[in-house]
């Protein structure tokens, strides 16, 4: 319940934050704190320095620019959930947000914080993979942009370097005739995903699949794109049977997690069932 002692730094600009991060070893970035503070209370994390970036106002926004939606890393889950811009232009995110934690958690937790924490059962990674997002990170030496699928490296591990801060998520605005859906089976105690499947699919007027992206969380040590599913659908005329067949590939080639809440076998099964259901719902929305 009680974190170990630390020094607390509150930069008001990103540059100050980056400079603090490069100066102090054993420092952690604090955004909403809803992944980090619980870990600190259990003393699973005991950083010497906390750099609170929540006072940096230019990390908190949702806006449209050049065919993309840009979301500041410090934007809270609730801000995303209630964004009319996202609801119109990228509804997969507004559909996913209410599945995260609970009302109180969504009021504080941030998109950037969740992605940087990379919990294998978090919801955002599935959606971020499905919308084909890019992730912008900065250090005092410069910035770089990563594809979502390159960002997640392993369990609780991302491509972020110790001196980098995740600053922005960039999402291409989906074309016409795109449907999306998020399906989640909750671990009943924690509310995290036993399996979460996010789908974004674009069909042409002949119902041929132009583009499809399937992001899956909860199943494997890291969230991933279900390439096997996507490949079965791309360029094909979509029908229910094909969706079901494609969904069978959802757990192919992954090393599924297993714990007291669900075995690897059941998680894989859920991934297949809910991939099918997510695909069906996404297609029905076109």
């Amino acid at each position: 319940m009680i974190p170990a002692a630390f020094e607390y730094l509150v930069p008001t600009t990103l540059d100050e934050a980056l400079s603090a991060l490069s100066t102090h070893t054993d420092a952690k970035i604090l955004a909403g704190g809803h992944s980090l503070i619980p870990a600190m209370k259990l003393r699973l994390a005991s950083p010497k320095y906390l750099i609170d970036i929540s006072r940096i106002s230019d990390l908190n926004y949702v806006r449209e620019s050049g065919g993309q939606i840009l979301i500041g890393a410090g934007t809270t889950h609730y801000q995303i959930e209630s964004s009319t811009l996202l609801k119109e232009k990228c509804p997969l995110l507004t559909e996913t947000a209410p599945y995260i934690g609970d009302v109180q958690v969504r009021n504080r937790g941030t998109l950037g914080g969740s992605l940087a924490h990379a919990d294998p059962a978090a919801d955002w990674p599935a959606a971020i993979l499905a919308v084909g997002a890019e992730i912008n990170v900065r250090s005092s030496r410069g910035e770089r942009t990563l594809k979502a699928e390159d960002f997640f490296v392993d369990m609780m591990t991302t491509a972020l370097q110790p001196n980098e801060i995740l600053t922005e998520i960039r999402i291409p605005i989906p074309p016409q005739r795109t449907g999306s859906a998020y399906e989640k089976v909750k671990q009943p105690a924690s509310g995290f995903a036993l399996v979460g499947v996010a789908v974004q699919i674009t069909l042409d007027t002949n119902r041929t699949c132009q583009r499809v992206q399937v992001g899956i969380t909860g199943l494997a040590p890291k969230p991933f794109r279900a390439i096997g599913v996507e490949n079965m659908l791309k360029g094909k005329v979509i029908n229910d049977q094909l969706l079901a067949q494609a969904a069978e590939k959802a757990a192919d080639g992954v090393d599924p997690l297993s714990d007291i809440h669900a075995s690897a076998e059941y998680r894989s099964h859920l991934a297949r069932v809910h991939t099918k259901r997510a695909l069906q719902r996404a297609v029905s929305r076109i």
Binding site: M1, I2, P3, A4, A5, F6, E7, Y8, V10, L30, G33, H34, I37, P38, M40, K41, L42, L50, D52, S54, Y78, P98, G101, D102, V103, Q104, V105, N107, R108, A189, S190, G191
Partner: protein
């Protein structure tokens, strides 16, 4: 190193020097002396510690007091105005929305947030909105009715 924070709690401004690691809930309970906000777990699940921070329901056990600096906090003690219960408080009393009372302050604050955002929620929306608040006594049914009571009252 201790830091100075300035907050407004239930309408009253105050300033305190706190250790950065001091959790907001401990600040409220042990420093400010507002013990209506409770602690029921260590993992941000139970919601007994729910308060409003800048108008949003938050779990005060998962926020450092320093993060609340410059913020406006409303706790259960500040919900009634001029001795008149908030409709959600009233609903909990009218509809027997509590038994041991330990989850109740957090539950009421969550109820307040639900109705702020949706003045006419369905039963299902109320139940979903209470995902972050555990009660072991009531089976939630009377809590749902309490929030429905308040919704009705606030609409009329």
């Amino acid at each position: 190193m201790k830091q100075v924070i300035q907050v407004t709690i239930n309408g009253k401004p105050r300033q305190d020097e706190v250790e950065p690691r001091l959790l907001l809930v401990h600040y409220l309970r042990d420093v400010v002396g507002l013990t209506g906000t409770h602690i029921g777990c260590e993992t941000s699940i139970c919601g007994a510690c729910t308060v409003l921070l800048n108008g949003a329901a938050v779990k005060s056990c998962t926020i450092l007091a320093v993060q609340a600096n410059k913020g406006e906090i409303v706790t259960i003690e500040g919900l009634a105005t001029n001795g008149k219960l908030h409709p959600v408080q009233e609903g909990f009393w009218e509809r027997h929305g509590l038994q041991c009372g330990f989850c109740t302050p957090g539950m009421i604050m969550a109820g307040v947030q639900i109705l702020q955002r949706n003045p006419n929620p369905t039963e299902e929306q109320i139940r979903e909105g209470l995902e972050g608040n555990l009660c072991r006594c009531t089976g939630y049914q009377h809590i749902v009715e309490a929030i429905q009571y308040a919704a009705q009252k606030m609409r009329t």
